[in-house]
């Protein structure tokens, strides 16, 4: 079943066209990676899918309903959003920070129920943030912050998670850690995930479906094996590359050709 459907969606900031006639559907249990060069419209697309931005033209349907007609709190229980960064100016504890993901479920003053406590404990274990429970979030490292942001989104207990380059600014170990968490949620809890990503090889390793954006249009989409082609990647990123075929030890991989002089 389609959770999110975009039909002929276009978007522009003033006169600057960012997205043009995008059609896509995100189905239950999908793990979709959205790739493309800087400025291709990845972040804008994520925000349109989450309902934060309204398309200039076209329709965004959530479970068959126009997304802007869905009650905000209702929507927050069904879609969680993980941004690239969040401000960490205030000294909340790790647990308080993750607990904020329970907001759409709490009443006046956000008084937490025993169930909220249980869910937060569970997602903090799952995201390897249990040790940050009483640490102040303005004092933790970049990798820990990103895991806390993921934990907060998981605490939202939504069936769908949208992510805007959740691994930007992270080293390779922490990138893998974040993607492992998402894959686990996707496989074990059937969570639907769509993420803008910038690392081609990691995307191919983790996502079941990939979508290439170029100049605001969908350039190619399909399984990693299907779209990981020299011609496609070279044209999307305007950079000469070579695609190494999959072997027994690993999946196919992209390497840069221009790096060697």
């Amino acid at each position: 079943m389609a959770i999110l459907e975009l039909k002929d969606v276009s978007f522009s900031y003033g006169d600057l066209k960012v997205l043009e006639k995008i059609n896509l559907s995100l189905n239950e249990g999908d793990f979709l990676g959205i790739l493309g060069p800087n400025g291709a419209g990845k972040s804008t697309l994520m925000k349109i899918m989450s309902g934060a931005l309204k398309p200039r033209e076209g329709l965004v349907l959530f479970e068959g309903k126009e997304i802007s007609s869905v009650n905000r709190r209702e929507l927050a229980r069904k879609i969680a959003f993980v941004p690239q960064q969040m401000p960490f100016d205030f000294p909340f504890t790790g647990k308080e920070f993750v607990m904020m993901g329970r907001f759409p479920y709490t009443g006046i003053l956000g008084i937490e129920s025993a169930e909220d406590e249980k869910i937060v404990e569970k997602v903090m274990k799952l995201s390897d943030t249990a040790g940050l429970s009483s640490r102040l979030v303005n004092m933790v490292s970049g990798g820990e912050r990103q895991r806390l942001i993921i934990a907060q989104a998981l605490a939202q207990d939504s069936g769908t998670i949208l992510l805007d380059e959740p691994t930007a600014h992270l080293d390779i170990k922490h990138q893998v850690q974040i993607l492992d968490i998402l894959r686990k949620m996707n496989r074990e809890k059937n969570i639907t995930a769509a993420s803008a990503l910038h690392d081609l090889n990691l995307s191919a390793a983790y996502c079941e479906k990939l979508l290439f954006l170029k100049d605001g249009k969908i350039f190619a989409e399909g399984t990693p094996a299907g779209v990981f082609k020299k011609e496609i990647i070279e044209e999307v990123f305007e950079t000469p590359v070579e695609v190494l075929p999959a072997s027994e030890e690993r999946i196919q991989a992209v390497v840069l050709l221009s790096a060697k002089e």
């Binding site: 925000k47 989450s50 934060a52 905000r72 709190r73 209702e74 929507l75 927050a76 229980r77 879609i79 969680a80 959003f81 941004p83 969040m86 401000p87 100016d89 205030f90 000294p91 909340f92 504890t93 308080e96 904020m100 993901g101 907001f103 759409p104 709490t106 006046i108 003053l109 956000g110 008084i111 937490e112 129920s113 025993a114 406590e117 939202q156």
Partner: protein, 354 residues
Amino acid sequence: MKNSITKRIIKISFILGIVLIISLLFSFAVGSVHISWHEILILIKNKLTGKPLEGMPDETIIFQIRIPRALLAVLVGASLSVAGVAFQGLLRNPLADPYIIGASAGAALGATLAMILGFKEGFLGIAPVTVMAFAGSIITIFVIYRLAVVESKIPVETFLLAGVVVGSFIWAVISFIVSIAGEKLSIIVLWLMGSLADRSDWIHLAAVFPFFLLGSIILFIYSHKLNILTLGEEQAAHLGINVERMKLVIIIAASLVTSAAVSVSGLIGFVGLMIPHIVRMITGADHRTLLPASALAGGIFLLLADNLSRSLLPWVSSFSSFSSLGEQEIPVGVITAIIGAPFFFYLLYKRRKK
């Protein structure tokens, strides 16, 4: 663990509440006329139980001077701190203060005009300077708000910028008025420094209290949403908050609280910036505990600062060579800045060393 936040709110309010009551009783005994603790307690007991107070000569000093003054100090300190918490959360900047949106400039202009034009008529017994300061404050915030609104949204950067620009303009007008003020110069300057000396009576207390109460209740109801707003407006929206409506409510509530406080006290600086910041270091960032704790701590702090304001010069004058100072007060705004700035610096320094 159930309802642990409610327990935390009650616990911290209880502790600070006791400190506040002790500070109040202590303040009633501070002043040039010596009145013993024993007499103060009997006076209060008799008043509360409706017994006659005749034959107690200090009744007027306690009930008409010291108690309203102490309560006003608590009220103003609490108001500035509550508004400080709200603006720091709204602007996602732990160093914002309640004057950032032009409330102070507007109030100063209103008060200055009232003094220079020599208004005699107030409103329901409220001093004309207070009425004009309140009107000036509200009008200025409204102008800044209108300037900052873009397509029915309030981008906080635009809001801050509009506040700075309008504030600068108003301060230029005030400077001009002050430059031609002549003999009224000193009363204007004293007002601008912030003092509780002139408005400490029951009427002004009754005028400020409803604004504080209403504004604080609204802000407390929104305190949990302020937590969420510190994640950024976009993320708050993703968690289900109607961000624009929330910002409007916070601005109105915090502005009313600030304007009412400023209109009776002049520009008392540092309280609204410092108290929330210090309390946050102790209670943590959760606005549900931060807000009530800051209200109480701000009240206690300004009360103690005002005691110093009242008693420091008379104490110095008791060493005979300074006897001419005996009748004067140091404006409490001066005290809050002189104590506040170094203390604040110390806290930041200590924290960095950690």
